[in-house]
Amino acid sequence: MDRRSFLGRAIFALGGVIAAVTTLPIAGYLLAPLFRRGNELVDVGAVDGFRTGETKLVDFDDPSPLPWAGQTAKTALWVRRTGADAFTVFDVNCTHLGCPVLWQPEAKLFLCPCHGGVYNSDGTVAGGPPPRPLHRREWVIRGGRLLVREAPLPRSGGA
């Protein structure tokens, strides 16, 4: 390799060094928070606060929110007490595109305002575009409190 073509290649190599030094930390800085997975059990209220047969909207705070998250640290859930120690916990997000479904107690249906998805009381699809039933949450009772498992914003692809 002569001096001229060496210098030509060196220019590209040096450019690569500058790009790597700047972009790799930035890529890590931006991507790392994306893989922080919350999987804790969070308290959504006393078991006695739920009447059997009633479907109630509850919310909980992200256990480790950013200080400036404000209201967006909250997540809402539909909780139905089905027995003394039995609950069904639904995500509020429609499985079509994530809009919040609204429980109609008399009609015993969940209605979605965006594209008209309708779910039966057990979360199965009664009509409209949703591709699958409402997502359910894992729950446990501990010391008279109802705890619900954190989960990612329900995604249409996976469970």
């Binding site: 994306l34 400036w68 640290a73 809009c99 109609q104 965006c114 009509g127 989960a151």
Partner: protein
């Protein structure tokens, strides 16, 4: 003026503007542009001017806007109601964005119908189609920065749409909301994307686009018999340009006049109509929401409701990609051949079809017949519907209101539009058919009520519906 002469000479000797900027301003354009057809050539400059308006008003808004989820809404309330000229600046930014989308589309339509995207200007078109995508990305991210209920749920919907992509869906959704849920990290990323990232791409693309326009030259208005032949087109254009006129003053004046009209229109809309209404503050725990995107995305919102089940992934993920690929590669499909619209029926059909489909979907999106009617606590059926009912019929009317029927069916102009209007249902259906439909549902949308309503309830509801003749 004579005193300024030495100063100008010094500037010219040091900056050499006459050979650079002067050259651009005086560059020759086809002489036909001196005629009235020249007015068709203003839309690119109008779009560029509107982009400058967006940069200026956007910088102004960023001086006050706080891109933190717990403060963004309050800062917007302050900009709208408290800051001097704040409402007007927000209005300029919104209507400027709307006008930018509209004029970019008009510009593309004009270029396409004049056949100007053909050889040798394919790259002009391709860089322009990227600019359109970036403009729409600005419109979408800008709407999210409004950070009210609609914006919050639009973020959720965007994440769910991204999640539909095969294989990489969940990763894309995680990138959109910057984590596993919408939260403290989401808004700052959208903000940085809207004010730094996309604008940087737009600056580069504008530089490329304008460079290409200057290097390839403004295309001349097509004559019906003009056939682009790559072997001779450059020579033909060069000899046409040799008889051309300078860009300054007439064509540039027209650009300035049209741009002024567009900016004044934006200012009038900002004053008279004002900025988009701020919805309720964003709150994931308030599920009584009715999220709607801004007007440019209403057609897509409607499409998402209307696609048949099973075609969702192809439409949600495939259609935008296919539409962009089609637009981007369009000039490469037929870089030669007739330029004049009268010889390109397919081109006219494509434009007309696109406009009609977009308008029809926008209309459907605003009417949203699929969206359920959610009655408020004091809502009641019209009094002439409930007048003179027997006790059983009245109980049926009550069930109609409370059991969800009303959410999808209209009676005398009140109720949802998802299912058939039941104002005269008894004149179409007999008792048995009505009972069967209530029990089993149907039509792909109606739930079966057999497990929800008791036989007495179904009987009462049927008695009420039989009064609807």
């Amino acid at each position: 003026m004579r005193v300024l002469r030495p100063l100008w000479d010094w500037i010219e000797s040091r900056f050499e503007l006459d050979g650079t900027v002067g050259e651009v301003v005086r560059h020759p354009v086809p002489r036909e542009l001196a005629r009235r057809v020249g007015w068709f050539y203003v839309f690119g400059s109008v779009t560029l001017t509107l982009f400058v308006v967006q940069v200026v008003t956007g910088v102004g808004l960023a001086m006050t806007y706080v891109p933190a989820p717990n403060s963004a809404y309050d800062s917007l309330v302050f900009i709208t109601n408290g800051a001097a000229f704040g409402s007007f600046v927000r209005g300029l930014h919104f209507w400027g964005a709307s006008a930018m989308v509209v004029f970019a589309l008009i510009h593309m339509t004009q270029v396409f119908l004049f056949g100007a995207q053909k050889f040798p200007r394919e790259a002009n078109w391709m860089s322009g189609s990227l600019l359109l995508v970036m403009t729409l990305a600005m419109a979408f991210t800008g709407q999210l920065l409004r950070w009210d209920q609609d914006a919050f749920w639009a973020v959720v919907v965007a994440a769910q749409q991204a999640a539909r992509a095969p294989v990489v869906g969940d990763l894309l959704a995680t990138i959109v909301i910057a984590g596993q849920n919408v939260g403290g990290a989401t808004l700052t990323r959208f903000y940085a994307t809207h004010v730094f990232l996309i604008p940087a791409v737009i600056y580069l693309l504008i530089a490329l686009h304008v460079y290409l326009v200057l290097r390839r030259g403004i295309s001349d208005p097509p004559k019906p018999d003009h056939v682009v032949d790559p072997a001779s087109e450059r020579g033909r254009y060069a000899s046409a340009l040799a008889r051309g006129i300078p860009f300054y003053p007439l064509p540039l004046f027209r650009d300035a006049a049209a741009s002024t009209a567009a900016v004044l229109l934006v200012a009038v809309l900002a004053l008279v109509v004002g900025p988009p209404r701020l919805g309720a503050p964003p709150d994931p725990t308030v599920v009584v929401a009715d999220p709607r995107p801004d007007w440019m995305f209403i057609a897509y919102f409607a499409l998402l409701a209307l696609i048949p089940r099973g075609l969702e992934v192809p439409v949600i993920v495939g259609l935008p990609l296919a539409a962009f690929a089609f637009l981007f590669l369009l000039p490469l499909v037929r870089p030669y051949g007739y330029r004049h619209w009268s010889r390109r029926p397919l081109a006219i059909g494509a434009v007309a079809g696109g406009v009609i489909a977009y308008a029809a979907l926008t209309f459907a999106g605003y009417a949203a017949p699929w969206a359920p009617y959610i009655p408020g606590p004091d809502a009641a059926l019209p009094s002439d519907v409930t007048a003179g009912l027997s006790a059983t019929q009245a109980r049926g009317a009550k069930l109609f209101q409370t059991s969800g029927c009303w959410s999808c069916h209209r009676v005398e102009g009140s109720g949802g539009r998802r299912g058939p209007d039941l104002t005269h249902v008894a004149s179409r259906l007999e008792r048995d058919r009505i009972v069967a439909r209530i029990l089993t549902g149907g039509g792909g949308a109606m739930p079966a009520y057999a497990g929800t309503l008791s036989p007495e309830d179904v009987g009462a509801l049927t008695e009420f519906l039989l009064t609807r003749r």
